[in-house]
Symmetry: C2
Amino acid sequence: MDIAVIGLGLIGGSMLRALASAGHSVLGYDADPATRATARTAAAQSARDSRWQITSTVRDAANAASLVIMAVPLPAVPGVLDELVDAGYTGLLTDVTSVKGPVRDLVRTHLSRSANPLAGYVGGHPMAGRERSGFAAADPHLFTQCAWVLCLEETTNLSDWLELASLITSLGARVVPTTADEHDRAVARISHLPHLLAVALAATVIDNPLAGTLAAGSFRDGTRVAGSRPELIAAMCGGNAAALRPVLDEVLDALDAAGSLLESKDPMKSLVPWLRPGHDARSSWPTPAGDSIDLPAKADVLGRLGRVGGWIIGVADDRRTVTAVRPARPD
Amino acid sequence: MDIAVIGLGLIGGSMLRALASAGHSVLGYDADPATRATARTAAAQSARDSRWQITSTVRDAANAASLVIMAVPLPAVPGVLDELVDAGYTGLLTDVTSVKGPVRDLVRTHLSRSANPLAGYVGGHPMAGRERSGFAAADPHLFTQCAWVLCLEETTNLSDWLELASLITSLGARVVPTTADEHDRAVARISHLPHLLAVALAATVIDNPLAGTLAAGSFRDGTRVAGSRPELIAAMCGGNAAALRPVLDEVLDALDAAGSLLESKDPMKSLVPWLRPGHDARSSWPTPAGDSIDLPAKADVLGRLGRVGGWIIGVADDRRTVTAVRPARPD
């Protein structure tokens, strides 16, 4: 497959390497000339059968491609879309941005002014580690076993979706079918909210050096992601503000209830029922995988799979079935 | 030194082993007969020069001791104090409970009815890992480099305090001098609050299997301590309710402000200044240690040391000076 990767940070760079290793013909582009130079040097040093090429414009990368992957942060998406429209790109389009509703809306707005309609857009989001960033941290094995959301909306062309799902499962990832809105509400819970809590917790040791000295494991883990750059956290959380706000309120209500229990007559007892549901949820996470099964490759079947926490690990060559896994039910 | 350890869970068991290895004569007791049997078997298998003995009553353990270490959870403290009073124990007393004000008050109440006044009580708290629990997880090296609070109140006998500080630094721990009240306010921030946040966060994936499947690193680390037993978390948080409540309110106010920013015109920008202080606090934690210095072993000097996040790593044989470390100032 001829694929263009626009944006060569951790995710884009890792995709460039992973797709080239899988035998695809890959062109990469990054807006930063230094990143392009680094990626060109790395290409020359890579194995002969897994090389990529770096172009100097979005247009040059997209020209020959039948799939364009946008691997840029949300604020850079509109500019890339404009360049794709100007280049007359008409192939398949996906992205890896951590919010999906806003990208879907941007795609809709920007492509409406295009003379040539796009083959299709399928929003994507690999839940891949972000401890280090930039092309230097790129790793072709980053996506092994990672959950990779592919948005399956009512308007999505199912064969486009299956084409991408086939490509992404071939990289070792677990493809999770869901909608942009369901994705955004879910990541508000498990990715964006944890960042706000980590930052609020970290701030409690400011002006309290004694607390900083006594802090150990629970503080270390509870605040780890506060070490991410504030601009990145703001882009993630702010870009998903509509979904994050009600989840934040849910947690504020829960903590408010805990505060009342702290004032009850015997908080050492009264807190226990407040603690148990969260404790049980964490103790049964991650849910073990059930057996793999073959399912018909139909939109409604795949939508139900995502909603119960399932994923697919392969797409049949004839695109009629997928191999799926559901979380095992607790006994 | 003749030492009795009452309670042989992770902390008590580790102290038993560490003190025996350091050449002290150690007697251990646990209310659970099975734990006593396990500890007796382990004693028989330990090296000849680092053995301990297990007694069948608190009285037998305390009889010969000049130091008793209470290593039981807060709810069990009153019972142990009663037994020590009944046994006529008059030596030095310390504990390892995670809240210090309530234990101080219990000691005051229970010993007031004793005919023989105690030599002295010094509250203690090792900030040591709790991933696993019970005597089976006991490790004589658990306290290496760990911060170990020893409460230094206006009423504390300084020579008792220095005696304990000398013993504990000899186990490789960093002794942090502070008061029970300052300790309780600090651990509310860095230990008890993280547990409440972890549990509230973990609860957000209940009834959302999609979120559970997408959850990765930030959820895993942010919820880790929610895996602790609800009864243990309730005992910690409920036992420190008075100090925890205002810290919880502080975080609720901060998160409430973040919620308002999510509703602002451009949350991707307006969140940045909210995020920066917590980010900076986490990025500079743990503060690197400065050079070690000798300080006079005086209560006011030690109190100031703890308040700026410092600790002591040794006590001179003549008890006139301590070797202290302050956190290095950032450049």
